[in-house]
Symmetry: C2
Subunit: 216 residues, 2 copies
Amino acid sequence: MKENKKVSTTRRKSADIRKDNLQLILSVAEQRFAEYGYNGTTISSIADQAQLPKSNILYYFKTKEVLYKEVLTQILKIWLVDMEEMSADQHPREALRHYIILKVKQSKDHSNASRIFASELLHGAPFLREKLQTDLKVQFMKTCQVFREWIAKQWMNPISPEHLLFMIWSSTQAYADYGLQSSILMGKTELDESDFETGAELITQVVLKGCGVKLL
Amino acid sequence: MKENKKVSTTRRKSADIRKDNLQLILSVAEQRFAEYGYNGTTISSIADQAQLPKSNILYYFKTKEVLYKEVLTQILKIWLVDMEEMSADQHPREALRHYIILKVKQSKDHSNASRIFASELLHGAPFLREKLQTDLKVQFMKTCQVFREWIAKQWMNPISPEHLLFMIWSSTQAYADYGLQSSILMGKTELDESDFETGAELITQVVLKGCGVKLL
DNA sequence: CAACTAACTGACCACAGGGTCAACAAGTTA
DNA sequence: TAACTTGTTGACCCTGTGGTCAGTTAGTTG
């Protein structure tokens, strides 16, 4: 952690420098934005943590807003991937379980990204509205359609696909958003592996049974 | 909206003035904090919206932080009330339904409060940690105990009370936190009465069935 | 009504934070 | 290695914001 980039004696190509620094900045920025929100995060604080001068951050990202949007964009990509996997020919028993487990895992492994996303929505998605209306909506509607087909095949009870998806989103997402609250309430400093597992399993069970999906 | 407090010819007692202004400021502050978060909210903006000079706000609340904490305190009170109603001698069929409906209603009627609370948790509860560890935790444990007794009575399946409560919280809370996202995805400008109803009903059904609570 | 307290407010201040810029260093290329 | 591009940085600026304060007005009380 101590070594400075300058210490390296080997010459680094411009392209590499650029790639590395962009990556470093984005990653540090993600942490800070997740913890302190957009307004609560200062460029200087990002700079400090990345061990770069503030000016250097501004060299790569013209403004704080640009940097934030870039972080958001990366996050949305991750967010959409999992949903794509569900398809109507899979049985909800496996497909939903798989999706729920993935989502909880994502809450655990990409907690920062999840929280930024949540915070953005919470405050009216000022930077994300457009993306929501296009990319996310498309995927949302596709997934609802999958649910509808499952219902038509009588693989699950006839319930509102939209609200079901909201329910799955929020309860899985909660393991990122409210992980801290949860750990406090359970008297721990942090949720551990088994908490995420138990959570994912419980959500799966409740959702499957609750939707009348036949278990094996 | 146009009349200024000064226009009133009737004399107002100091106590009344104080009460009214405190109320006004707290209520406006709640809106702003919900929409823009702690750091995104300026005292001036609160002042503008309340049609009071900034100095006047600072007269009633020494600092921004004091004001914010006051808002939070009020919110937590509201938040805890509903949970108290559940007791072990009620049947989960009615008790859970009742609680879920209340929670969703709260998301609708006190969306601002809910969102501030969520935002606070999201960012590590810097101002709320203590309260969580005491007040909320007590109520949390009581409620988990109620669930346990239901399980013992075989009124519901043996599932983790903690995680079940998280699931109920997050999925009901979502109607405040992600109400905007939901409406965008459903192609509306705002969730309407029936959306909240459908949501509450769906959550209730899924939870009850999912927990193996016998329906009538 | 006089003395007092509570409510109110504009002017002011300190300073943090986003962003600019000019100069310089390091890599690239012919 | 010279000309050029890309990366790096400290000094600087300006706006916005939290907060102070002294002076004023409006209610209270003996």
